[in-house]
């Protein structure tokens, strides 16, 4: 027995198993959600390792993020106002409040003026203690707002390949054979370059709850740029894993087509990734995509809204011997 061959065979079979190991699941479920997030949960992660402030701050929604900044700002000022009260408001000039509440309010606003380095000066610290607190607060304000404003800009300038996938994939005639196809479009104005797709088929093993993953060869796996619509085609050649599986097999074995697209976003000068997946119900058999392009005045137009439009198309009869 040729062990080298065996090793190669092993490699092919398990290539790209996405770190999901061999044991997956028995039921019908998604490995990858439609939006590209993973349908997986990590248990028993020590709390300290789980927390990643930057990741949390960069991926939360804008309203939550701004709410967090606002409430932090509020709490920090509450804290410093309390400190000024403890030191004694007589060490702040220009405080005219009589009741403790009035005094606390004025100390609170003095704190806000200090932490933002606004410094009107109508209220100002006197004495060493109050001055130390104010000097510390203004420096903390500079560092703290550096984080906050850095995050604001970091979130704003974070690239994301917001590609739009066709709602359905199709099995359509492709030259004199057939092909598994889906389409992607970049609806935005920013330019994507060196766009590279990798597509995998995931099915359950026969009579098992383990999953196998097979990479699918593509007509083209890379385009230099993506100004319009790209139809990604896996031709059903003799080597295709689709070749040996009937439609019933695919349903029964819970197929999932996993798509990862990598590109260079020219606007952000960074690499970006996009993920999606198609399940059995997302595939139309014997349909093809409609053309989306027209031209007028020497310019090509693409009707982006029609990206999922399909029409009936007779599949080719193919026989490989």
């Amino acid at each position: 027995m040729d062990l080298k061959e065996t090793a190669k065979a092993y490699k092919k079979e398990q290539f790209d198993d996405f770190g999901l190991g061999e044991k997956a699941t028995s039921g019908h479920y998604r490995v990858l959600n439609k939006d590209g997030s993973f349908n997986i949960k990590k248990d028993n992660v020590p709390l300290l390792e789980k927390i990643n402030f930057f990741h949390t701050l960069v991926s939360m929604s804008w309203p939550r993020f701004l709410g967090l900044i606002l409430s932090t700002y509020f709490c920090v000022n509450l804290l410093f106002a309390s400190i000024y009260m403890i030191i004694g408001v007589e060490h702040l000039t220009g405080i005219y409040g009589v009741t403790p509440f009035e005094q606390f309010t004025e100390a609170f606003f003095f704190s806000a003026q200090t932490i933002t380095t606004l410094g009107y000066g109508q209220v100002a610290p006197t004495g060493i203690l109050a001055n130390i607190v104010a000097a510390t607060e203004s420096m903390m304000g500079l560092l703290g707002f550096a984080l906050a404003t850095g995050m604001v800009y970091g979130r704003f300038s974070k690239p994301a390949a917001k590609l739009k996938y066709s709602d359905y994939a199709v099995m359509a005639p492709y030259k004199d054979i057939n092909g598994f196809m889906f389409r992607v479009v970049n609806p935005h104005g920013n330019q994507l370059l060196e766009v590279e797709a990798s597509v995998s088929l995931s099915i359950l093993r026969e009579n098992s709850e383990l999953r196998n993953f097979y990479p699918l060869d593509l007509e083209r796996s890379k385009v230099v740029f993506l100004p319009a619509v790209w139809t990604i085609v896996h031709p059903i050649t003799k080597e295709s894993p689709f070749q040996e599986l009937s439609v019933e097999d695919l349903f029964r074995r819970d197929l999932e087509i996993i798509v990862v697209i990598k590109a260079f976003d020219e606007t952000f000068s960074q690499s970006v990734y996009s993920r999606s997946s198609y399940k059995f119900n997302d595939i139309k058999w014997g349909e093809k995509f409609k053309y989306l392009m027209s031209h007028e005045n020497g310019r090509v137009s693409v009707d982006v809204s029609g990206i999922s439009s399909t029409e009936k198309a007779e599949l080719n009869e193919v026989r490989f011997d």
Copy 2:
């Protein structure tokens, strides 16, 4: 029939079709404009997907960008001045205006001093409401100016491979065959490394309005660095798509040579891309480029202004059997 071979043939023919699909256009037009932008329009994009604030802000011209910042600054101050007026100017100390206009003006400038965290203090808020607004405004100012100044620096430090292409490409003798050639130069002081060119020929299919794209093999597709002028050469070997096409064919079938150059910009530490294209009228047949280099005092000089200079050159008679 060997399906694998067929699949390979398909691949070759359609390689690098730049996502323009099969259907392109019948008339003579440009796929790529001279400046590297695409001659393509996207229709029916949902408004929300179309908008990309960062891309818009990063790609607009400097005058428009600065105008936008200035007018935003003006409007936000108008807004806050109105709020202070509604609260009542008596809650701002140091307002000496009598007429509403005078008061509004003073409130406006107080707002400007607050949002920039300038805070002279000749005008200052008193009372809870005015203080809340001022504290909020100064924090908003910090976050807002973080975006504005981040964009200013982001725009300023954004890399762009501003390569200069020769105005014309030439078909010139190359060793004992001929070659399709054009030149690029980096006129700037920044160093480009790992410069990689990919060049494609696009022509209409016979009696069709569909376009085919053929990658062109280059003498060298990559240079380690680009200190001076690089002449990019596609040798017309037996395999060249030019080999089977007459000059008349090329004109009739509306050829376009599409160029994409990738490089690493050492100054910005980032990858940069440059695009251009040559149409039939941009090609000179039977001319060659003039030498641009001279040396004096042990140093090489390149005359960048002569990048498009050509001179007559007899093409080689080549016969492939």
Copy 3:
């Protein structure tokens, strides 16, 4: 003798020697520490080349970093307070201190209000000299805090592939042969893409204190993404360097398995590296890793805490002829 062959052989033997040259060490020691840092010391480096402020600032601990900023802030204010004292406190309005210490304290806090651009104004410079110092100080403050706050955000947003490695590697049955295996998991919420592992075996030469390094072929050296646990497997095929070495050899020749993992961190949009190593005592012979995945409600769960759990497993008898 075929010199080309010889050259190839040389290459294979010394591939990936990690710049440690040929001479290493006689005793049992680690090339790479468990945490990925190098067990190597550089001597006689000129002081100026050794110092790299950015590297130092980015890699020191947070408490030390914040302590450094605080003490710099304190010292700079001491310095400027001294300058204001030398100029004469009578050039600062609003100084009410009588003793030199009181005056110095007030000058100190005035300096703090100036360098942070707080500027209450209860103390303000008069006269040319004091004004020049204050104007210079505020500009220095802006530039200095730009560095400090840039470092704060740079440290905060610095990516690091904090992968968790299994405490032990195992020699386990793998299909009908055996395999050297270890596991990695990304305990964090951020997504790692294009995860690539390179693993090398380092052993002492026979009767020598020199070390050889051998790259180990992996079942898969790359996965497109890493949502859960990845078991990295080096199959002991005929070509494996493990094939010719007994367990006693490995101990005697002080084996070290060196692991480098590269990935693209989607949260930070940057490439990250992780390193680790296994010594003889970190390898369990004839054990295999336990499965970590379960599923419920159509979702896969991974028990991250069990990453190092192993169980007995009979090794396959393999004979290569």
Copy 4:
């Protein structure tokens, strides 16, 4: 005649000609200076294309950079002081100067307090005109200092592969043949990963002032990391261009060895490049590098200062048939 073969031959000969074209120079000169800058001048570059503010600001020395910021700060304040004088100092409260010079000085410092958003308030604008100027100045200050401080941090955090090359390259015995060798060391604490070297030989053509460039095959062209010293070796096999050239040839034809090293700097999370070159006088024939490593307490030490130390070594007699 096989044209494909010819094309290949062309490719080999001219590979990596660094964009210097065919025409170079007759005399003995350097293509690349020792410090990695290019010995080349670009003439007739239109002024506007030549200027690249970012590149200029990022590559000037620190003293010049800080001088530029300081003088800009001074000039802008001069400008605004003049504007306030034109408007009339009576629109600034708190100006006590009597002579125009005194008034101008006070206006100058008021401008400085405004542009840094310091805003003591001892001087403050009154009236619409002065307020408009002050509001504009503070906003300009925020944007302008964003550029200045962005550049400060950008310069500070800019990666640079400051590798140290051995002063000399050697032709030394290598196994049973000989090898052309030089050494590099990273004297700094930051980690370089995926270090990749490409080395080329440049010589004049026979009886010509044109230069040819030949890539040199390396024993290893890439190491996964570079914790210590890396000896880069070009083995003089049958295929080496050195094989056909005598030492006299190399001198007469003005050899230059051009080195480009690429690496990933872990501290800066970016790709960095380093360049150097060796001329005839920088090569020692029949010498080899001394070992630099020792070990104590289970730790390897590298004596970085000895990177250029060589000792006599008999070259192997090699005969290729």
